[in-house]
Symmetry: D2
Subunit: 341 residues, 4 copies
């Protein structure tokens, strides 16, 4: 089959990762990028020998050479960008979430479903070898039926400043929409059940300045699922020790933990601090391979006319849960989630 030509929209940190991965794939071409800041465009063009650069997304998708776009723009733009790409008959890989506003996300579902293009939502943890290994154990029944899932996403404190700058200009959608949405997806994926009640809390003891942005530096959500399982989720922006993504599954016949400590590698250091395991400081390092695998899967689906496992409904459901958590946090009460089916 011919080379698949992809344009990447948005060259922030994650956008550059996707650009790098696409550029390195055999049988795939990083044909175009669109990004507001033209300096970054030119650097990227030079680095990966890209044919076209744009400062407007709308211009990029006019390029008739393109087969697909990879949308890594701020979350609030996602619905519009997805809509326009599908209308231009482009396959779409979109970073999570589909959108920040639930109604907008709901409205995207028929648009996506009626299109015959590949739509792939970037829940990269589903492509992480460790999360997949645990999924296999669960599906085989190795740990029995799931009673409790605990899932943490703790960002390193090094990233706090850049988040504050970002949140001052864009709405993040709140800590649950921005961060816990990955944990929510894992809970749904592992249990095969929907979340029906949530109680969320949060505070700003580590970064009081976040209060002005209506954000919390650490948030938790406790959840009851339709099948009776219980979930506890925590998200934080001020971890001193690194980028700590951890999931625990307690089953009736065993339990498992994925990445109980955010090990950087297989090295253990013995020095005057004690016995130390160096930690990974960023998502790019921790999920490097997952980002490659999800783009490979996106390309495979395009070539084989397949549908990705993660679909628009997964995007909607996780956004609905994140929004309910945000409501619970703000209104300090237990929130019931009513799904329209």
């Amino acid at each position: 089959m011919d080379t698949i030509k992809i344009g990447v929209a948005g060259l922030g940190r994650l956008g550059l990762i996707h650009a790098h991965n696409i550029a390195g794939m055999k049988g795939v071409e990083l044909t175009a990028v669109s990004n507001l800041d033209n300096t970054v465009n030119q650097q990227t063009k030079e680095k990966y020998d890209i044919s076209y650069t744009y400062t407007a997304y709308e211009d990029m998708i006019q390029n008739e050479e393109l087969d697909a776009v990879c949308i890594v723009t701020p979350s609030g733009f996602h619905p519009d960008h997805i809509y326009k790409a599908l209308r231009k008959n482009l396959h779409v890989f979109c970073e999570k979430p589909i959108g920040l506003d639930i109604n907008e996300v709901r409205n995207m579902i028929p648009v996506i479903e009626q299109s015959n293009k590949v739509f792939h939502l970037g829940f990269m943890r589903r492509y992480d070898a460790d999360y997949m290994y645990a999924k296999d154990m669960i599906d085989r029944g190795d740990i029995g039926e799931i009673s409790i899932i605990r899932s943490y996403g703790l960002d390193p404190i090094e990233g706090l400043d850049s988040f504050v700058k970002y949140a001052a200009k864009n709405t993040s959608g709140g800590i649950f929409s921005d961060m816990s949405i990955h944990d929510i997806d894992i809970i749904r994926w592992y249990t095969g059940s929907e979340i029906k009640q949530v109680w969320a809390m949060g505070n700003n003891k580590a970064a009081p300045s976040l209060s002005e942005l209506n954000e919390v530096d650490i948030g938790t959500a406790t959840m009851k699922l339709e099948n009776g399982a219980i979930a506890f989720v925590a998200a934080g922006r001020t971890a001193n020790h690194g980028y700590h993504v951890e999931t625990e599954v307690i089953g009736t016949e065993g339990m498992l933990r994925i990445a109980a400590t955010p090990d950087k590698n297989k090295v253990t250091v013995f020095d005057n601090n004690g016995v130390i395991r160096p930690t990974s400081q960023n998502f790019a390092e921790r999920f490097r391979e997952s980002y490659v695998k999800e783009i490979e899967e996106f390309v495979r689906c395009i070539r084989n006319n397949d549908k990705p496992e993660v679909n628009a409904w997964d995007g909607l459901r996780s956004t609905e849960v994140a929004a309910a958590c945000q409501t619970s946090l703000e209104e300090e009460r237990l929130v019931e989630i009513q799904y329209e089916r």
Copy 2:
């Protein structure tokens, strides 16, 4: 000073541990035991060369030689046994909880406070070297201000049958009163703050038969504290891997975990199952030293006319929280705790 003479009431599994520890202490004599089953009394008498055995608690406390009693009878008897011992002018070491009924516990407070005898409540985790090490770190500010505490108590599945037999005859008070009360005490001890809201859930996927006893095999409680900290507690009766007591404290400047895995010892085994850390199967092994240290502290208080750090208010507060969790579990709602001060 003279030898301190102690009588142990109740020779169940934990009663025998206390008897053993008291018998081995220099300057202390295990003078009497009281227990319904006289066969156990005679075995214990012989093993430790004890002077007196009784089948009724009330008879034992008539013994004028005794300085103190160690109450390890079923929880429902605690208030009555404490009351009678204090009236006989005996120092009292009592296993948690002070009682199952909150009002009974509340009524005990003035009785205990007006007595001039030592009253020591058996929250043994406070005497565990690892929990103490973490407490010191927290108090020194090593991890900043506490944002989240997570604390688990998972009993091994081997103990399920004996719990079912016990629960058929006695009320355990529910999983939070029976098990999580230790975690509740740790939360109060570490934060120095009171719990004001709880949402508890539970299920019986691993041991459906517990439903008939109105018990759950696994329960969780999410808590909001007066100082804004968040706590998540889990208790279970069917852990396949051992006796797993674990506490995590997430602070604004670091986090720590106590006993993240229930290691039995310092041995690591490499065989065809992978790399294995053997686990401890019972509380007696995990907290062996703590049980010794708490009795030593009890004896020290008697000798020095001191007051133990853990007092009757700690007993009341933790029972109030456990009861609120039970209410939340049964009524499926968020529960506010109103403390009378």
Copy 3:
């Protein structure tokens, strides 16, 4: 620059890995393979869409399209295959060792050095992120001066049968040449010093049948280096727990361990065996990325007319040490190594 066309010689387990990696690289083409068994050739041709297959190495290197060969034939053929490829003006990537016979390896040095082609020896551990991280720590002086290095290579028992079959037909060169050569290279790389004395031992307690093949199932070598550092190496073929490659470096100001347990991934399982870390069962999984990176480096050197860090002298020196270990094992004595410079 044009696409670089590579032929892979030998499609055993490792040969197939190299073929797969080469086939997946952008800007590189897996143009040909040579292998005795034509069935494997045809499967590989189909899988990777390869233009040419050969049953004789000599035929493959006649193919004028080729820029380079990747030699993964049995070790005894390496000198001949390197020689012929260089004479045909092909860049050479060769799996360790350069050869089994020291004189043959010595004779290759001028041939390789006088050629202007890239010669890259497959010490893949040097391209492992964990080994590189430790190398950086050592070079920065984080652990002071090196006193002791301990390095293990333990193969899983699952591979024993296939080794026995291989060793019955080919000479492996002995356990030190076949396995410890990687550890010897690491010792030289980390210390920057040469090994001058060795005492090797071995036994066949786990696989007595190896005695007939003049092999041991486990072997150790203790070494004294020119700079006074001490090394201890162990190699085994019957590890029940997995593929265990581990290195420890004790320095004057700290120590470090690489892969102290052969973790398969970041999952920890808690079940009735205790707390288990699943282990990696094979070198292909453990060093998957290293095999990619070393071929990338080989290609980079070809494109940039660079020399790989690992050169023919590294191949000679490590073979000399492995041979001295074998002599020590057979003659049961301390062996001095005399290097010709």
Copy 4:
């Protein structure tokens, strides 16, 4: 039975530990201490309410009240002190080694064997729960037949100054006699076989000043056992990370490690250094319980007229091996050990 009255000879760091443990045992009295420095004597007398203190060992053993002595004097005095105690009909607990000079140790054997008193040699690792757990696994055949034992004793650098002061006045007997003797005992205990060949090396990269004292700061010994097993031992005096005593046993069907990291407790700290396990800094903490248990066993043997498992031959054999290691280190050669049986 009557109270057993013990005198402790030598109130250095370890002597004070033994004194403390003896003072705390029920049924045992710390009746006397002898120590050169009378200030320490008076402090100890006051702390434990001891009846007699002496500045000369010879005076203490004249005390007719004593049943037993615990000898913790410098190693060079051990033979003389053991001899005199036995002649005064006292049971003897003696810290390792029996003596520094092999002939002196050999001459003690008949003296000890012909006495009918309990003689207990202080190899406390044999009373460590972790070492005992591993011994049980080995004896049950869980890991098959032993191929390799690796055993480390690394002292924390904090102790270096006090060692230098000690070694300036007393001969330590060399690092193998002083430190590795514990590892040698473990090797003999676990394998049930004798060591027949050793090659020892050492260097002073971390503490060059030790050269003047004819000591090394780190030493290794590789050993061949009569049953074909291989052992590798390392001892060091400058570990930056703590008191690291670790043993590994590689068997034909599995392997195990005891204390692969010198964990202080069950706490894991996550802070800006990474994930840290605090380490134990001293032998007193690591082997606290073992020191209690070995004295309990000594007392049990006295009461029951039993013989301790560790006898004078164990003392002789381990000293012979340590001496051979020292010879190997000094003469830079492989040393054969000839045992007289």
